[in-house]
Symmetry: none
């Protein structure tokens, strides 16, 4: 376990040093490297200044096996990483035909002419190997100095992530041949982290006694458990981890909604596809988030008919056929209204399943009886209707997310014929 | 410009190096320091290991005026910052009566007895000055070495933030008497970074010749420009920056949509509120994202009536009154259909303004004629209708985001009576 590979991440960008942008790139990169058995033991943020870049590169080289640099690779004048690399490597920029072809392809797709500035992006330090960028114009660069492999990547998150997932991870794996690290992530909705931790105390002890490590990864409404093991014998490790998952399933049988890259929206989508059924949504407080999550899945048009974001009472009444008497008597955030919304959207879009939300996301609109964070959720099919009240917290965006994932999990249980909460 | 104060932030914690926790502490701290004219020129994340902590402290001391350390100050076994400081300062831990009093007060409020572990938290390195923690048991520590002021703080965000706001900022201001730093960010939609950079070449030169610095901060569909300046005379600097913004406005008059904390959804919301008008959306390829963005703004129920996520053609025909003949002849992703969607939702929700999207977000569904990334967007009011075709890229989530911000900017222009693109 201790002969693990060490890596450094160097994030370049003034915006990170004034706190305008949080360094999510480094956290994401560290996760990806960990998954292939490379441990990050230093993350450094420095400004877009050649002096600082050179000082850091010199200081790092020879001290770790891998150093990944992000940022400052764009076409503008404050992007000086490429020039700093030339200085560091005592080399010069040369024009790369393949990179220029990539730039031309991207621009022709967008129907934009290629400017001189874009042409300059095809210049790369002579001694660097190019890692193509399928999502933007700035390529990744790979070189070795004092036994440290350096990789420079653009800082735009989706470009960086695209290059890393598609190109860099396979390249690193074949280059370094790190030991197998197996991770298995189990996703649980609806049980708070501290409760789950109490429920799993004994199971957790067993996991650790087997030489596996365990991490709780909480996010709004969801807790992910990640089991990790380092192995020479892949088969044996897989069997061990599977046995731990089987025992976990017996403790929280209905609350595990997926594994690894599953999401609630992908799991609900799979269930609907398998059963050949359709879904519609009526969203008040979630404001379109449930539809956004469902439609983030490629191919969701097969089962997702659509959603009505019913922000005003008029829409609830006219489109979803909610009884105005119930809105007056019980309020828009009530069991009566949310159930009528679910039944209304089921009829309106003629779908097999429906989900509806109505709540007070905040920061305004709370009352002593219905504080900010109060959310009613209903799920329905032709012959079933189930609704439940939740009281989340004070933060608008967290409330919207928690309501959306909770609604999708209620849907999952309804479609799977599991008992509702 | 160069005589500004330099600070380093050292974040200690294994959880930051495996990407389990994003380093929001450092971003927050950097913002706070910037506001009082202290510039952070290095942020370093290191593990909970004495060897790494000592190496970093030695490396930093004498190289900056201020170094702030966060993390590893708690009561558990992996919290070793205090012991590392003793080693670094060649000193020993001594019991602090005021810190112990603070611990006792906190525990008595929570009705918990004080344990031996808690008593140990009252031990501090002998040469350190104590900065009291009003929100937890671990105090802040202040000491000087090789002309660098070091401050060690607990890593729990609300404790760290509490100590910094209440105690550290006033102490730093009176100790260092730093100059002012002013930042102003300008948000632009619809001009790619490289084109913008070409358009602004001369303006950019002028900004830098005035002693200001400039950064491009791109994100999908949006470029943010940040101007920064260090000043002894706040008024004069503000005037200088304003004059640069005025000249920028004359170069890209219609494309700047906001400043600093503005977002497209907040700007569109403000315009609607000012004019007392309402808005509705009909979303196909954006799948609810426009509604999600609009409803992320508190108080959006004042002007946002709702949205129909029209993922199926049936919904386009039955709810939005799109002519099925046009869907057959031109396809769902076409000018005819997106314009009918916009007019349809305007009537259906009886709103003053409407926006509609129809496109191929990918990864499937593209054709040679209409590749993945093709998106039609329409905006409408009672007497105006404007639509435009865009070809974005290959990534589903980026296409959805770019289509959504572009649609909101077309709406902004329509509501502001600016000429459409």
């Amino acid at each position: 376990m201790e002969k693990r590979m060490n890596a450094s991440i160097i994030s370049i960008g003034d915006e990170l040093l004034i706190g305008q942008v949080v360094n999510t790139n480094a956290a994401w990169l560290a996760q990806q490297l960990n998954l292939i058995g490379i441990y990050v033991n230093r993350i450094i943020i420095i400004p877009d200044k050649m002096e600082d870049i050179l000082y850091t590169l010199k200081n790092i080289s020879g001290k770790c096996q891998l150093a990944i640099i992000t940022g400052g690779m764009g076409p503008t004048k404050d992007d000086i990483t490429k020039y700093s690399l030339c200085e560091f490597l005592n080399t010069k920029l040369v024009f790369s035909e393949p990179v220029f072809e990539n730039i031309k392809t991207i621009f022709s797709k967008r129907n934009i002419p290629v400017s001189d500035t874009n042409r300059k992006q095809a210049e790369v330090p002579e001694v660097c190997e190019i890692i193509m960028n399928d999502f933007g114009t700035a390529p990744g660069l790979w070189f070795t100095k004092s036994d440290t492999v350096f990789v420079a990547l653009p800082g735009v998150p989706f470009e960086m992530e695209g290059i890393v997932s598609n190109r860099l991870i396979p390249k690193l794996t074949s280059y370094f041949k790190p030991p197998y690290i197996i991770h298995k992530t189990i996703h649980i909705q609806g049980i708070p982290e501290s409760h789950l931790s109490d429920m799993l105390e004994e199971w957790e002890r067993g996991v650790k006694e087997s030489g596996l490590s365990l991490a709780y990864l909480p996010q709004p409404g969801i807790v992910k458990l990640r089991i990790s093991g380092v192995a020479d014998d892949l088969q044996k490790m897989q069997t061990l981890i599977n046995s731990k998952i089987t025992s976990l399933q017996s403790i929280v049988p209905d609350d595990i909604f997926g594994y690894d890259n599953d999401t609630l929206e992908s799991v609900v989508g799979e269930l609907l596809k398998q059963k050949g059924r359709t879904l519609a949504a009526a969203e008040s407080c979630t404001g379109g988030k449930i539809a956004t999550m469902l439609t983030s899945v490629p191919g969701s048009s097969q089962y997702f008919i659509g959603s009505v974001v019913a922000y005003s009472n008029d829409v609830k009444i006219n489109t979803l056929s909610v009884n105005p008497y119930n809105i007056n008597k019980y309020g828009a955030v009530s069991q009566q209204v949310v159930e009528e919304m679910a039944k209304g959207i089921l009829r309106f879009f003629n779908s097999d399943y429906a989900v509806a939300t109505s709540g007070i996301a905040g920061p305004d609109g709370g009352t002593p009886e219905k504080p900010v964070g109060t959310v009613w959720i209903a799920v329905a099919s032709a012959d079933k209707l189930h609704s439940k009240k939740f009281i989340f917290g004070n933060l608008r965006d967290v409330n919207i997310t928690r309501a959306s994932v909770t609604a999708l999990n209620m849907l999952r249980k309804l479609i799977s014929d599991l008992k509702p909460d």
